[in-house]
Amino acid sequence: MTRLLDLTWRLIRGGGSRGLLGSSLTVVAVAVSTALLLFAVAVNVAFAGRAERAAWRNPVTATGTPRALEAVRVEFAGDRVITVVHVAVLGLGVRPPRGVSPLPGPGEFVLSPALARDPSAARRFPGKVVGTVGDDALVHPGELVAVAGHAPGDAVMTATWRGDHRLGVSATKVSGFAGAQDNMAVGYRVLAALAGVLMIVPLLVFGGAAARLTVARRDQRLAALRLAGATPGQVVAMTVAEAVMTALAGAVLGLVLYAAAAPSLQRIEITGGTWFASDLWPGILPVAAVLAGVPLLVGLSGIAGLRRVVVSPLGVARRATPPAMRFVRVVVLMGALALVPALGAGARPTTILVVLTLAFLALNFAGAWVVGLIGRISAAGARTPARLLAGRRLADDPKSAWRTVSGVALTGFVAGFTGILTPSAEAGSDRMTALLLHDVRVGTLVVLAVSFLIAIVSAGVTAASSVLDRRQTYALLRLAGTPLEVLDRARRMETLVPLTIMGGGSILTGVLCAAPFASLSPSRDGVLTLLCCVVLGFGGVVAAGALTRPLLRAVATDPAPRPD
């Protein structure tokens, strides 16, 4: 085993600059995947943390002897939200909520640091400030929270709240201040999980593809090893070892990337505030799981890609007309999508998530079919060689193009829909709706940005590996006088055509669907942000393709494509 690992290591190092380039591409792809995976996990952990920290403000009626009264009111100071928790102690031995110390007596206040720093807002609470609301009891760092102490007979402790349930809670007899996560927080957690699924599904597919690409490039060398007498087991072991080593390097780099990006991610505002540094740290166990799981997954998809070579020592892939993708896929999609409304409103969040995940997977299947269709149509109508080549290539390997654009196509609709809606409202419950809309918009834009990021890296990796895979043909075509620009243009179209039709189409559909609601006052900021995101995304995809142009030039100007 040690000797095998040693040989693998020497083969990696001896791969020359081209082999090294291939390995670094995989490292980059795995690094980006890992970083985004960590982000997707962290988002869920972060929302869980918020829900946990806000639970004390959602009083649960005591089943035994009540020990305290708790009421909540949401007030507005300008455009800022102040949450005021009114408490009155009934009996002895009541412990303050976690993070709040001490429990204020009648006429006393405990203020959050941001509230205490703001004199105009703090003026609303004229009384003795006896402590602070700590981070453990705050949803976000800048949150304005006041805990007001009362006597049990005070007006607020006897009144019943008849307004919007998001703006107040009637006084409730509680046995303690542990509380429970409210519906709103649970809703956000479901949305976060959904965003996670949206980001993770294309990531896994893309990561697996990156692994298979490395293996595919090794086909010839592995076949040579088989011819030299290596057993299938040894070949598999060596390849998997190489893939896992590369992936591990990528995963560690991904962790570094994520750590570097975390301070900026922390500043994304959701539910009216930014995040604590600890929110975006997924925790030791999840990080360890990702760092171990990513190389494992890459190794597994490496094995899947290897089967062909292992079967036959002469098993260098020969390209044949791929079996036409079946219309069945579309039927499956329709079926899966029909299930979603059939579930009804009563379904549990987990069930909805599972079904939505299935629906996305079904969309994934159908997406490749649509890309193939686009390829066939554009090849049939092509007049220039570049367009013909791009179309044929899309029809030939629609999955690879779909991998690149799938995230944008899946998120685009929601981003387009929420992008132009105006979340500005005057006061009260409208304001809370506006806040929710704002959050959904920010959330989808983040997912859209991630999807574009995946598309950019995937476009780069796909372009580079397609150049490496066809290096001999490209070199010979250049010798025969084919201008490299034609090949370049074909590669660019190969990504841009499906991205425009499917990604752009999905965003546009979302915008059009939202237009009736936003016709009076489309949100200028929202439109601008969406536009920036789309322009940056498309620009990034084009740039990623352009980055591989020197590679094309290098392989095509190789003066001796034939080993003479």
Partner: protein
């Protein structure tokens, strides 16, 4: 069997022809001529002053052991690489002084190439692979594919128009490559070990088709090979040793004597 080709007289449109510099036609009837060609790669001398002339309709084999400089000679003659010194003339016009773009256009329009393998784009069906050089020369797609298909029958490829390179045998793929090399009606066809990846019988057939089709189209043929059996198909053999050409000898005669 090659009659069908003559029924489709389709010279490439003049617009894609590179403008050749007008030079005095110095040397007889040579279509392609290399004069005093020298080329070095670092300290290694690949060509040490080679003179070679290829006449109309002539098939010449360039032979020599590995590292003798035969591929470099082909690259210089085909305008792929520039010689360090010396001149290359095509139909009396000097081509080695053209820029990269000019030489590239020249290769696309006046030369055809057949390599050992791997020159066909795997995504394109056979007929579109053949049509590609025409499309690059702004011939409309319909006409390019139509013209491309007219080559399939004569080359024994009838019925394989829609096959992809991965679905063709080695010999069939080489015949598709021959069709692609000839479809633009080039002045010279360069073949670099065209049968190197084929078995003997298939290689034999491929060479016969290559020589016949080239001659039928009034093009001359330059074949680089180390296989005397391949060289035997040509009119002449130029033996390259250490960057220089040994005196010419007839190819067919020698083999027939054996």
């Amino acid at each position: 069997m090659l009659d069908a080709m003559s029924t489709t007289p389709t010279p490439p449109p003049t617009s894609v022809m590179p403008a050749l510099p007008a030079m005095p036609h110095t040397s007889g009837h040579a279509v392609l001529e290399g004069r005093a060609l020298r080329k070095s790669f670092g300290p290694t001398v690949a060509l040490a002053g080679v003179d070679i002339a290829i006449g109309r309709g002539e098939a010449v084999a360039i032979m020599g052991p590995s590292g003798s400089g035969k591929s470099t000679l082909l690259h210089c003659l085909a305008g792929i690489t520039r010689p360090d010194s010396g001149e290359v003339h095509l139909l009396g016009g000097r081509i080695d002084t053209l820029g990269e773009r000019g030489r590239s256009a020249l290769r696309r329009t006046r030369f055809g190439f057949v390599f050992q393998f791997g020159q066909l784009l795997p995504e394109l069906p056979a007929d579109e692979n053949v049509a590609l050089p025409l499309m690059l020369g702004d011939v409309s797609r319909t006409r390019a594919v139509q013209q491309a298909r007219s080559w399939f029958g004569p080359l024994g490829l009838a019925g394989l128009e829609g096959r992809r390179p991965g679905e063709l045998s080695g010999g069939q793929a080489q015949r598709v490559a021959i069709a692609r090399a000839l479809v633009t009606r080039p002045a010279v066809v360069f073949a670099d070990e065209p049968t190197g990846a084929l078995d003997q019988a298939t290689g034999h057939d491929t060479m016969r088709l290559l020589v016949e089709a080239t001659k039928h189209n009034d093009a001359c043929l330059v074949v680089v090979t180390h296989d005397p059996g391949v060289a035997a198909w040509c009119d002449r053999v130029a033996e390259v040793r250490d960057g220089a050409i040994l005196p010419f000898r007839p190819a067919r005669g020698e083999v027939r004597d054996r």
